[in-house]
Structure formats: C-alpha cells, structure tokens
C-alpha cells in the first residue's frame, strides 16, 4: 500500500473525511498510479557535462597523434553566461565595432542572457560528430 492511500485511510479512520470522499480520493490516486508506477519508463537523467573530444592522427612536430578531451559542467556554462550578462553596453558596442572590422557582423547587444540560457538548456540533446580521415571531433552532453 502506498503512502498516499494510507493517508486517505487514516483520514477516514479519524473521521476527517466521509467514506464517499475517501472513495473519490482513492479513485483519483488509482488514475494517477499508471503514470507513476515503477514499471513505467523512467525520465532520462539530465546531462551534467558538456564533453568535447578531438582526436587527430596528424603528426604535428613528429610527436605523434594528438587528442583533446574537455569536460565542462553545464552549470559552469550557465554561470559564465550569467556573469557575461553583466558586461556594460558601452563595452559591448566596442566589441561589436571590432567584430564588424574583422568581418563578423554580429550584434552582441541583441544576444540576451535568457536566450543563451535557453540555448544551454537545449544543449542536453545536442550531439555533433565530425569525421575526417585524419581527425574526429565529437561534442555531446553526458
């Protein structure tokens, strides 16, 4: 017997609810049961890390193949975005001007923190695989 059903019966025994009310509550619990039963599919655990793996067969400097493996907590990305949202507008306009000069016409003032937060929330499902004969890049959340 689950805890909620026990509570309903306890309330009935104490006379706090009528038998009809108890029956309605138990019916309501029964309706909820199939969704929360142990056999039902469990929610996928939320990923906690963003992982970037780069493997290269290139022999830079005759030293052998290279490999980069970076694991960053998603919480760190969120904290970084929140901190970056405090950059004053005058600094952002200077950055915009420099980006324009370099041929990257991106207006950073249009990039709102809540948009980036949403982007990070959706990173959970992202998987990027780039396969080349001499290099492989993987970006995914775990």
């Amino acid at each position: 017997m689950n805890e909620q059903r026990r509570q309903v019966l306890q309330m009935l025994a104490e006379g706090r609810i009528t038998p009809d009310e108890a029956e309605r509550l138990i019916d309501a619990l029964d309706r909820e049961q199939p969704e929360s039963s142990p056999g039902a599919t469990r929610a996928k655990p939320r990923p906690r890390y963003l992982r970037v793996v780069v493997s290269s067969a290139d022999n830079f400097g005759g030293d052998g193949p290279g490999r980069v493996n970076v694991r960053v907590p998603l919480q760190l990305l969120r904290a970084g975005v929140r901190l970056a949202s405090l950059i004053p507008p005058q600094a952002l306009s200077k950055v915009n001007a420099e980006l324009n000069k370099s041929g990257v016409p991106i207006d950073l003032t249009e990039l709102k923190p809540q948009h980036i937060e949403e982007l990070i929330e959706q990173l959970d499902d992202i998987t990027v695989d780039v396969d080349q004969p001499d290099a492989k890049v993987q970006v995914f959340c775990e």
């Binding site: 906690r48 890390y49 022999n59 830079f60 400097g61 005759g62 030293d63 052998g64 193949p65 290279g66 490999r67 980069v68 493996n69 970076v70 694991r71 960053v72 907590p73 919480q75 760190l76 969120r78 904290a79 970084g80 929140r82 901190l83 405090l86 004053p88 005058q90 600094a91």
Partner: protein, 86 residues
Amino acid sequence: MIPQLVTVRHRRPNGRSLPLYIPVLPVLLVLSPLLLLAVLAVLAACLTTRVNPVGVLRRSGQLLWALPGTRIEIEQGRTAVLVSVK
C-alpha cells in the same frame, strides 16, 4: 560546492609524469590578502563602469562554485597535460 583540489599532471616526452596537487582552500587562505585587493579593484572597476558590484561578486561566486567536475586533457604524442578540478 567550492573546488577543493585542482590536479595538474604533465607527462613529458620521456614518459615521466609530474603531478601537481593544489588544495584550493589553503591556497585561497594564503592568498587572501591579495584576493582582498583584487576584490577591491573589482569593486572600483564596477563603480567606474556602473555595473552592479553585488551581482558581479555573486555571479563570480557561482562561476567558482560550478568549477568542480571540469576536466581538460590534452595529449600530443607522448606529451600530455591534464587539469582536473574536484
């Protein structure tokens, strides 16, 4: 949780590995006078640029708190560098 241990491991081409364990809290305590100066400099910069200093300190703290779990490994042939924050 604040980072407790930063591990830096450097593997040299001859295969020898040099691990360096940095306990964060004792290091912060030792460097606390410098940190105080740094915080004052940040506060002054915030006031000059009209940025909310409380927000900056709070979000910097959040950034520090989110660091545990970070791991960076770079290997090139027989040379490798590993930085891990726990």
